[in-house]
Subunit: 208 residues, 4 copies
Amino acid sequence: MATASRAPRRSHAERREEAERRLLEAALQIVARRGSVRMTLAEVAEAAGYSRGLPAHRFGSKAGLVHALAGYIGERFGAQREMGPALEPGLDAILGNLRFYFSRQGEAYTATRALLVMMTESCMEPNADLKREVAAYNRTALAWFEQHIRTGIARGEIAADNDPAVTAVILLGAMRGVMLQWLVDDRIELAAVRDRLLQIARQVLRSR
Amino acid sequence: MATASRAPRRSHAERREEAERRLLEAALQIVARRGSVRMTLAEVAEAAGYSRGLPAHRFGSKAGLVHALAGYIGERFGAQREMGPALEPGLDAILGNLRFYFSRQGEAYTATRALLVMMTESCMEPNADLKREVAAYNRTALAWFEQHIRTGIARGEIAADNDPAVTAVILLGAMRGVMLQWLVDDRIELAAVRDRLLQIARQVLRSR
Amino acid sequence: MATASRAPRRSHAERREEAERRLLEAALQIVARRGSVRMTLAEVAEAAGYSRGLPAHRFGSKAGLVHALAGYIGERFGAQREMGPALEPGLDAILGNLRFYFSRQGEAYTATRALLVMMTESCMEPNADLKREVAAYNRTALAWFEQHIRTGIARGEIAADNDPAVTAVILLGAMRGVMLQWLVDDRIELAAVRDRLLQIARQVLRSR
Amino acid sequence: MATASRAPRRSHAERREEAERRLLEAALQIVARRGSVRMTLAEVAEAAGYSRGLPAHRFGSKAGLVHALAGYIGERFGAQREMGPALEPGLDAILGNLRFYFSRQGEAYTATRALLVMMTESCMEPNADLKREVAAYNRTALAWFEQHIRTGIARGEIAADNDPAVTAVILLGAMRGVMLQWLVDDRIELAAVRDRLLQIARQVLRSR
DNA sequence: CATGAATGAGTATTCATTCAT
DNA sequence: TATGAATGAATACTCATTCAT
C-alpha cells in the first residue's frame, strides 16, 4: 500500500505542478529571447505544449506569470550558486563563481540572459511589483558575495579594508555589465575579459 | 542675421527639424521610463505637443523612430564625453568620466537610463537592426576608453600590461552593471560604490 | 426516524437537493445584482460554498441553471402571493397584494429585482426558452389577479365592466413599471406612489 | 466660393460625425435585440459597415459606447415627445403621448425596446455611471408629464388633487410595465390594454 | 457525488499603419 | 507639412464546458 501509488498515476496536484513547471520553463526561454513585454501567453502555452488559455488560467494574468518567473529564475540561480563548483568558502568561492558565470553554456546561459532582461524590465514603469521581486533577488545574490568576502577576510585571504557590501556590488556589477556588452556585441572576447577580471578581482581583494 | 531669427519665419526645413528634435526628446523620456516596446507613437506625439500621426509621418514607422533615437542618444553621450570636465587625456580623463557617470542628475540620468534600456532591448529578437546600431555606439564608447588607456600608457600613468580593449570592456561593464543594480534597488549606496570603483580603477590601471 | 435526522447521515439525494437549493439561492442573489449574463458559474459555486465545477455538474449547463432559477423564482412568488396577508378573496386580496409588493424588504426585494431582471433578459435574443418560461410565470401571475377580479365582480366589490385580463395586465404593469423606475432612481417617493396607486386601483375597480 | 464646398466633400469632422451616428444606430438595434451585455463591438462595427476596431477607437471603450447610446436614445425620445402629434398642452398631450407610445412600429418600437433593456441593465452592478445617465433621462421624461399635468390643472382639465410628480411616475410606470409584459408575451392584447389605459387615465386625471 | 485541471472559443482593447483632408 | 479618421492585426483575459481523479 505504501508504494502502490500506481492507479491514480497523476493526481490533480501533480498535473498542476507539472503544468506550472513546464510553462515557466517555456516562459524562461522566451523571455531570454524576446523579453517579457513581447512574450505572449499564447506562445508560452504552445511552447509548453498546452492550450492557449492555460497560462492566464494558471497564473491569473500575464503579470502573475512574469512574477512567478522571477521567483523561478531566482531559485535557479540560488541553487546554482550553491551547487556550483563546491570550493572553499571565501576567496576561492568568489573566484569560482566569477569563472563559472562566464563559462555557462546553453541552458544556464539562457537563464543568465533572462535574468538580465528581467532586471532591466523590472525598473520600468508598470512593473513596480516585479522590481521589488528582482531587488529582493539581487540582495540575495549580493549577500552571497558579502558572506564569502567576510569569510575570506576572516581567513586572511581578503584584505580587511574591502567593505563587503560595496565590493559585492562592484563584483556583481562588473560581471553583469560585461555580460550585457557581450550580448549586444559578441565581437567582445569574453574569455580574455573573464581572465583579466579574475586577475583584477584577485589583486583587488588581496591587496594591502 | 542678428535680427532675422526673431519672427516666426521659419522655413519648412526648420520646422521639420524642430519637430524631429522635440519628438526624439519626448521619446527619450518615455523610453527611459517605460521602454521602447511599451512606448506608443501617440504618447510621443502628445508629449512633444504634436498630433498623433506625426511620429509615423516623420520617422516612417515606429522602428524608424527607435532607430533615430538610438542615434540621438549615441550623439548625446559622445558629446557629453567630450564636453565632460576637460581633463588631461589619459588616466585623468578616464577617472573623470567614471566620476561624471555616477554624478549625473536629472536630464543626464534620463539618458543613461534610456541607454541601458535600449541596450537590453537591442539584444532581443526582432531588433537585429537596433542591435547593430547599439553595438556600433558601444564600440565608439569603448574606443574612447581604449584611446585614453593608450595615451595613459604612453604618458607612463597606466601600466603597459593593461590590454586597452579588454580593460575598456571591464571599465564600461562595471559602470553600467553598477548603475543597473542601482536602478533596480536604490538602497545601494552609489556614492560609496563610485568612490571605491575610482580607487580600484586607479590601482588596477597604475599597478606594476 | 425521529432522531435519525440529526447526524450528518444524509442520503445522496438529500445532499443533492440541498446543493441545488443553495446554488439556486446564490444564483438568485447574483442575478438580482449583476444579471444572468454577467453571472458566472464559478461565482455561484463560490457563493454557495461549493467547488467551481458543481453548477455545471448539477444543472448541466449555464442555461440549465438559469432555467431552473426561473422556475425557482416563479415558485417563490407564487408561494408569497398565497401566503401574503390572507385577506378576503376579491378586491381586498388585490389591494393587499399591491400594498405588499411595494412594502418588501431585504430578501423579498432581492427576488423582485431578480424577476424584473430576468423578465427583461428573457425577451432578448438567445433566450427563447427562458422567454417561454417567464411568459408562463407571467400568465400565472395574471391569472391570480384575473381570478380575484372575477371574484370581486361576483361579490359586487368590483365594477362588472372591468375586463379581468386587461385589468390584470394594467395592474401588474403599473406595479412593475413603478418598481423599475425606483430601481433606477431611488429619489422616487415609493410610499407616496404606492398610496396613490392603491387609491387609483380602488377607484378604477369600483367605479360604475 | 460660399457654396462651392464640393472638393473636400467630407471633412474629417463630418466623417467622424457620420461614423458615430451610424455606429450608434447599429448599437441601438443590437441592444434592442440582444442587450448591451451580449452586444459585441465587432458586430456593431460590422452592422454599421465599419472595421471591427472602430467602436473602441471612437468611443474609447464598450462602456463609452453604451454611455453614448444612452444619450442618443434619450435625445431621440425627447425629440419624439415634442414632435409627437402636436396637441394642446395639458390632458390632450398626455393622452396623445400615451396613445402614441403603444402605437409605435418598426424603428420607433426598436428604440422603446432598447430603452427598456438599458433601463434594466443600468440598475445592475458594474453600471453605476449608466444608471445616473438613465436616471437623468427618466427625470426628463417625468418632467414632461409633470409639466403637462400642471398645465392641465391650470386649464381645469385635470383635477387639482393629482400630485404631478406622483402621477407622472404612475403613468410612465404603467406604460412601461405593460410594454415589458408584451415584450415577454405577445399574446397580450396590446390594443385593448392601450384603450383601457387611456380610459383610466382620463377618468383618474379628471375626477373630482 | 464532488473537485478542479485543462481546453478553446469569444471579446474588449491597444496601437502601428495607411490615407484622405 | 501636419492632422486625425479608419483599419486590422495582435493579445490578454474570461468563462462555459469537458473530463480525469
